[in-house]
């Protein structure tokens, strides 16, 4: 049904999406906890910064990433030390989609943590659990549905990411060509329309699946 090239595109997209979730989860948990539980100066500024990719045109996000993490970017020399190339590489696609999807992830994680009664954390402390154990066994455990929703949204957003990815990681067949950039490329070719059907069906199916799964976990979040 699918050509070898389409399978490659699909596998790359899934790999980028998985890595994107893995990359954003830890920062989202830390920032989500900070925003949900702590008061500090410039909290609004941090909140705004985290949500910036939601309103910024993805192409701009991609260009800013180039300025920061491109080979001649601000952190280029640092990345060179570790022999790590992000721009025009699939790892760059991960970073681009992680940044674009981060507000969605953060929002869900934060809501998940806010839904946990802080008094339960105090109970855990009086029962002998230290702050870290309390966070892991009570806060994070009860916020799990929020983490799941956030991961699914970030996963789905990553599968659809186009603007930032194509700007920062480009559209190199076999390396950074994900489903959206493949569809875009094929549509620009004379016989393209017949080739995109399979990818579009896959896109719709994956997105629907992720939405249904996140709706289901959101319902569980509300009911607990």
């Amino acid at each position: 049904m699918f050509s070898a090239e389409e399978v490659q595109v699909l596998l790359l997209s899934l790999r980028v999406a998985f890595c994107c979730v893995l990359l954003s989860l830890l920062p989202a948990v830390l920032l989500g906890w900070l925003l949900a539980r702590r008061e500090f100066p410039l909290k609004i500024a941090l909140d705004g910064l985290c949500h910036l990719p939601l309103v910024l045109p993805p192409v701009v996000t991609g260009y800013l990433l180039l300025l920061l993490f491109g080979r001649r970017g601000l952190f280029g020399p640092v990345l060179a030390v570790f022999d790590l190339q992000l721009a025009f590489d699939w790892k760059g696609a991960v970073l681009a989609s992680a940044v674009v999807g981060f507000p969605l992830m953060l929002r869900s994680v934060r809501l998940g943590i806010e839904s946990v009664d802080p008094r339960l954390e105090r109970v855990a402390r009086t029962l002998g659990a230290g702050p870290v154990r309390t966070f892991l066994t009570v806060t994070l455990r009860l916020a799990a549905p929020g983490l799941l929703v956030g991961s699914l949204l970030s996963f789905a957003r990553s599968l659809g990411e186009f603007g930032a990815t194509i700007t920062f990681a480009a559209n190199i067949a076999g390396q950074t060509r994900t489903i959206p950039s493949a569809i875009y490329t094929y549509l620009n070719q004379p016989d393209g329309e017949s080739r995109v059907v399979g990818l579009i069906v896959i896109s719709v199916a994956l997105s629907l699946l992720a939405l249904v799964a996140s709706e289901w976990s959101a319902r569980r979040l509300r009911s607990t």
Binding site: R119, R122, V123, T126, L127, G128, A129, G130, V138, T224
Partner: protein, 364 residues
């Protein structure tokens, strides 16, 4: 023994406490917003005092001078909150074992079975908190705290969210804990009746300050305490005037709103005024003034209200002052009690608790 000296600003007023608790149960009593919960939080280490010193059995838990502030998880103090706050994602058994599993085996004073038996929660072990009743949840919360083998147990109005019937069923468990497990308890409540079931040692708090500390019947007549006691539902407090004393027979005759009453002997001159307490449980109701009974006291009055609280019936009788008597709905039906009916309240002399001389100024 708990030694507590702490100051902390609490919005409109400052918590300023200096007490020593050396009794099995010390009750913290006061109106809502008096700082009772803050006091417990300070002891538990959940709230840091601005200044002061807290020590338990000789170990310093907090000292602003020595910069000591033991975190709550190292204080070995059990805390039962007003709401049970069971972990919703854990079964009853997992809730019970949460703290216990964090203790080294050598530090565990009680076996799981011992606490489960004491609180009769065996059939609940596999259930999640969502499937427990209010009374069951509060018992599990108590068990969870006990299983951490605390050196001190803090209880913050643990019965407030329960109806009267459940309260009556939980209190015996608290007495068990007090007597069988030998854990000192700091018990916050705004119900004198509830406190007196457990202890007479009371610390009265108002606006963050300790206004009285000691035996309830000694401090209840304190001019600042009496209004609080009356206001917060300790129904059966009577002020009486001594009419005659009989040291030989061990009784005093007193006048209570124009009626005669015999109370245990107290060494007070005739004409002095006293404060006595009668528990709602200790009052027997009768249609006629009985004959052939050993009970000496029969206060005449009229029924002013009947309240159903969780299966138990409270009958309020106006004897010049409102008395609350506990009875069963069966008795009410059989006696066909109704509001406005004349009734006698029978009280055994020796179930009357004596207070001190009443220092309240005479009405002008």
């Amino acid at each position: 023994m708990l030694r507590l000296r702490a100051q902390r600003q609490l919005g409109p007023f400052a918590l300023d406490i200096d007490i020593e608790c050396r009794h099995a149960v010390t009750a913290i009593y006061g109106p809502s917003g008096a700082g009772k919960t803050s006091l417990l939080n300070v002891v538990a280490g959940l709230v840091q005092p601005d200044a002061g010193e807290i020590s338990l059995d000789g170990q310093t838990l907090f000292s602003s001078a020595q910069h000591i502030d033991l975190p709550p998880e190292h204080r070995r103090i059990g805390y039962v909150f007003q709401d049970d706050l069971l972990f919703p994602h854990l079964s009853t058994k997992e809730n019970l074992c949460y703290g216990r599993n964090l203790l080294p085996a050598a530090a565990r004073r009680f076996a799981l079975d011992q606490i489960v038996d004491l609180l009769e929660i065996g059939p609940l072990l596999k259930r999640r908190p969502g499937h427990l009743s209010g009374g069951e949840r509060q018992r599990v919360a108590l068990g969870r705290a006990l299983l951490t083998s605390p050196r001190l147990l803090l209880m913050d109005e643990p019965l407030t969210s329960l109806d009267q019937g459940l309260k009556n069923r939980i209190i015996p468990y608290l007495c068990h804990v007090r007597d069988a497990l030998q854990i000192p308890i700091l018990y916050v409540s705004h119900s004198v009746a509830e406190i007196l079931e457990l202890t007479s040692q009371v610390v009265v708090l108002d606006r963050g300050q300790v206004i009285a500390h000691g035996d309830f019947f000694t401090i209840a007549a304190h001019p600042q305490v009496l209004p609080l006691v009356e206001e917060h539902g300790f129904e059966n407090v009577l002020d009486v005037e001594i009419a005659a004393t009989d040291a030989e027979r061990g009784v005093c005759e007193v006048l209570c709103h124009g009626q005669q009453l015999k109370i245990p002997y107290c060494d007070q001159p005739v004409g002095s005024r006293l404060f006595i307490g009668i528990r709602a449980d200790d009052i027997v109701l009768a249609r006629q003034r009985p004959t052939g009974l050993s009970v000496r006291n029969a206060l005449q009055g009229t029924i002013s209200a009947i309240a159903d609280v969780g299966g138990k019936q409270l009958i309020y009788v106006d004897v010049g002052r409102r008395l609350a008597a506990k009875t069963t709905s069966e008795a009410i039906e059989e006696m066909q009690l109704g509001i406005g009916d004349p009734i006698y309240c029978l009280v055994k002399t020796h179930s009357i608790r004596l207070g001190p001389q009443l220092n309240r100024p005479e009405k002008r």
